[in-house]
Symmetry: C2
Subunit: 123 residues, 2 copies
DNA sequence: GTATTAAGTTACTGTTGGTAACCACTTACG
DNA sequence: CGTAAGTGGTTACCAACAGTAACTTAATAC
């Protein structure tokens, strides 16, 4: 976004947020932080994700060097996905934001409720 | 996302990432971290944002209690926007991620280039 | 009277996020 | 031998939403 319209902003943060901002990416990184996994295993455990979305998400993460894809040449070929070192370091960074999120979620929830009921009155 | 399809996951992180994942939200928070500003001032300084998107973004941020909207009752009524304490604390949290982003951007860029050229060969 | 600035809103469009259905291949079961 | 179920995805399609362009209301200046 920043890069695309990039009038004044050259923004490394956007590169990361474009990836992190995606719901599935985070869930997949969270899952993989527990250990490597294969496609269908992820598919089952992430819950609600479709094969396509998983495929797309994994390819994005692989492209950014956050996830490594390894084909194991057994008879029905298996594919193993795991976090790279870069991926693990991002996981830690997300952890910090996640911490903030947990701490302040009540405040946000409260604010939203207040805002919404104020809107209802206005309407 | 998490909340919407919320099969298994009740995820406070998503609440925050839905907001942070949006390009404009971050840019606006960054801008407001420098000091309060009015609508058209923001419009000019953010660069590339349309009135609608600014309006939408600000209302989201206000709803989440990150930004305060103050109407000043002068003759052409003015509206002042500024970060709340919650907003400032999020700004600091974003800072951490931003730091990670700056540190690792070269690695990500490199990985993308490598990945893309590998794809080109394959095609 | 028409131009500008304030702070947005409305109506529309194009991209993209997401679903449902399908594919090719191998092993297991009856 | 046929068919079901697991592997790892792709293709075709649609709806929602992000984003743009144009308009609004009201006041002050020229």
């Amino acid at each position: 976004m920043c890069a695309k319209r990039a009038q004044n902003y050259d923004c490394p943060v956007r590169d990361v947020l474009d990836r992190v901002g995606d719901a599935w990416s985070v869930l997949v990184i969270l899952e993989l932080s527990k250990g490597n996994a294969r496609f269908n295993a992820l598919s089952r455990v992430v819950g609600g994700i479709s094969p396509r979305m998983l495929s797309v998400t994994l390819r994005h993460l692989e492209r950014d060097g956050l996830v490594a894809r390894t084909v194991i040449d057994v008879k029905p070929p298996q594919v193993d996905y795991g976090l790279t070192e870069l991926g693990r370091s991002l996981y830690r960074a997300i952890g910090a934001l996640s911490h903030w999120a947990e701490q302040h979620q009540p405040a946000i929830r409260e604010s939203r409720t207040a805002f919404d009921s104020a809107q209802d009155v206005a309407a």
